[in-house]
């Protein structure tokens, strides 16, 4: 799997390279600013890009804007954004293009190596990886919503994990239940929220996120 990394702090950049290469990925280029990132993404067309939101020269949200620009030129280019903080606004902008995998995680999630590598793989495969913090913000904003309050506690758990972008199999493993049980919960959730059922894991994830964003 070919990866481009954009991170301006050398310490973190080297750490990311080491971490991903230790898990069998090939870092084709690691850059430290926005313009180089755009060039790198357009020349290498990597399987996934791991990008820090804040990059030189502006030190604002250059990473995010570059990634979105690159996805405009290369539709479906998978991008995983890392940030010290999460903003729903940015999650919404990332999700706006419905094509190709996107991820938006707090930087500190890197410390849970297995989960992080899983998220990178998921995004590379065209899936979604939303930070639990984003999902928490979305859910707490709609805490009093009528259809959401009809979910059982277990269905709530499943909804949360699904919004983070996890597949049914991953949810089953995480909650230590059978895949069949998860399928049933997902069916109930979609029924209660009035969402059209779908076979595809990621399409379900996007539907749930779109519902929560509404």
């Amino acid at each position: 799997m070919r990866v481009v990394i954009a991170e301006d702090l050398a310490l973190l950049r080297d750490g990311l390279i080491r971490l991903l290469e230790a898990h069998g990925m090939q870092v084709v280029e690691a850059v430290d600013n926005g313009p180089s990132l755009l060039r790198a993404l357009l020349t290498h067309r990597p399987d996934v890009a791991v990008v820090d939101v804040r990059l030189p020269p502006d030190h604002t949200d250059e990473g995010l804007r570059t990634a979105i620009e690159a996805r405009r030129q290369v539709p479906g280019l998978p991008v995983l954004i890392l940030s010290q903080y999460v903003e729903q606004l940015y999650a919404r902008e990332l999700l706006a293009a419905q094509e190709g995998g996107v991820g938006y995680l707090l930087k500190e999630r890197v410390s849970d190596v297995a989960q992080f590598v899983d998220a990178v793989r998921r995004v590379a495969d065209g899936g979604t990886a939303m930070d639990p913090e984003v999902v928490h913000q979305l859910l707490s904003k709609r805490a009093h919503d009528e259809p959401l309050s009809r979910l059982t506690a277990r269905e709530h758990e499943v909804l949360t994990l699904m919004a983070e972008g996890r597949t049914n199999a991953a949810i089953a493993a995480r909650l230590s239940v059978t895949l069949k049980a998860v399928d049933k919960h997902v069916g109930n959730i979609f029924l209660k929220l009035g969402l059209p059922a779908s076979e595809d894991d990621n399409r379900r994830v996007l539907a749930v996120l779109a519902y929560l964003e509404k």
Binding site: T60, T66, I68, E69, Y85, E93, A96, S111
Partner: protein
């Protein structure tokens, strides 16, 4: 056509009002002359100590009298005329007298009383008598028989009556001559129509020139206000720094200490009890996560990253997204304010929205931000239960004080039952929008 009559009617109403005002001001200027004379006499007799307590009362009366004139003139000119008086100490007579005597406004008021009784009386008197003579001329065909007989013409003993008494300026003897004389009402009315607004404006300008604060008084008031808002700003900043220090001390610092302990312990028992060491390491990782979360919250409170990234529009949008409930955001800014103003505006809107969430019981809220005439204007409204007020110690009061550091103002309209609208204004300049190497990301 109808619009035209509407305009004429409004103009006529305005002139009639001004004429009534002129009559009132005429009497007022005479009363003012009396008041001024009494005050001067009282000052002249101040050696007669028993009279001293009367002085503050007299001066206060003059001030109320002058305030009424300020209001009238301000209404006519369409600009407020602030009162220039220095604040009076409470209680003892002599300190009060000292402030009154030392306040130039006291003496300017006194001078105004006499100018008002001469030049002012002339202006209002002319306006009023123009109206009066128009009426007098117009009424001649009806009133001539009851006018007193002033002259008798010698040949046939014809009785001549005069509108102006024995000055004999307008003389009529019978109905046709009365009708002829009454034609003069037309030029007189035209003169009244044209001159009244001018005369009254001159009067109002004169009042403003004498009663508005002098530049020195304005500067003094401004310095006082600045000193006060600076002291408040310094207090707020200090409190904010204390809060940050405490948050760091109790939060991230404490967590790093416990992290170090967990790691040290894990190092010690790694050889003998790898399972327990693994548990400690997991705990340590958990601890870093919590420390980072606390630092994130702290940073958000100091300067939200999204504000740095996206400016006011994006940051307010982000706040609105996190708000429980619907918030419509409209931002129309041709550029970006300076960073401190931008930050103040952001926190003001965020706090107003927090208030909405906490107290308003609203279904919908809206935020409007625009720029007009050198002012950054922020309006936050909701359809909640209303009844929001600025009261000492309350959230809105704190907000008002923080805006005051930027010469900003806050006003609230919130009738019981709603809706509530909080309008804030911050004077500032906008920089031209920053050019970005990227296309817009919407």
């Amino acid at each position: 056509m109808q619009a035209l009559t509407g305009v004429t009617r409004a103009a006529a109403r305005q002139r009639l009002r001004l004429t009534v005002r002129a009559a009132g001001l005429m009497f007022a200027s005479c009363a003012g002359l009396l008041l001024g004379s009494v005050l001067i006499t009282a000052i002249g007799m101040a050696w007669f100590v028993v009279l001293l307590p009367v002085l503050p009362i007299l001066v206060a009366t003059v001030r109320r009298f002058a305030d009424a004139h300020r209001r009238w003139a301000a209404e006519l000119l369409g600009t407020p005329i602030p009162a220039p008086y220095r604040p009076l100490p409470d209680g003892r007579l002599f300190p009060r007298l000292r402030v009154l005597a030392g306040d130039p406004a006291t003496w300017r008021d006194l001078a105004w009383l006499f100018v008002n009784a001469t030049a002012g009386l002339l202006l209002t008197g002319v306006a009023f008598s123009l109206a009066l003579s128009t009426l007098g001329f117009a009424g001649l065909p009806l009133t001539w028989p009851i006018l007193p007989v002033e002259f008798t013409a010698p040949p046939d003993g014809q009785e001549l009556r005069s509108l102006t008494g024995d000055w004999g300026l307008v003389v009529v003897s019978d109905w046709p001559s009365a009708l002829l004389a009454s034609v003069q009402a037309i030029p007189m009315a035209a003169l009244w129509w044209w001159a009244t607004p001018h005369l009254m404006r001159v009067h109002a300008r004169m009042t403003r020139a004498l009663l508005a604060p002098t530049d020195a008084a304005m500067l003094t008031a401004r310095v006082e206000q600045l000193a006060e808002s600076r002291a408040e700003t310094v207090d707020t900043q200090a409190a904010e720094l204390r809060r940050i220090e405490r948050d760091l001390h109790d939060g991230a610092q404490a967590r790093l200490v416990s992290l170090g302990m967990s790691l040290g312990l894990a190092e010690e028992i790694l050889a003998n009890n790898p399972e327990a060491a693994r548990e400690l390491l997991a705990e340590a990782r958990e601890s870093t996560g919590q420390a980072l979360a606390e630092l994130r919250d702290l940073v958000r409170g100091i300067h939200p990253p999204v504000l740095a990234d996206r400016g006011l529009a994006g940051a307010v949008q982000a706040v609105a997204l996190a708000h429980p409930g619907e918030v419509d955001v409209t931002v129309e800014l041709p550029g970006r304010p300076d960073a401190p103003v931008e930050s103040a505006a952001y926190f003001a809107v965020a706090e107003a929205l927090t208030n909405v969430a906490k107290h308003a019981h609203a279904n919908r809220a809206w935020v409007q931000i625009w720029y007009d005439g050198g002012l950054l204007k922020l309006a936050v409204g909701d359809d909640g239960r209303g009844g929001a007020r600025v009261q000492p110690g309350g959230g809105l009061h704190g907000l008002e004080r923080r805006l005051a550091a930027f010469d900003g103002t806050l006003s609230v309209t919130s009738p019981p039952g709603g809706p509530t609208v909080i309008t804030m204004e911050l004077p500032c300049a906008l920089s031209s929008p920053k050019t970005s190497p990227f296309s817009a990301t919407d």
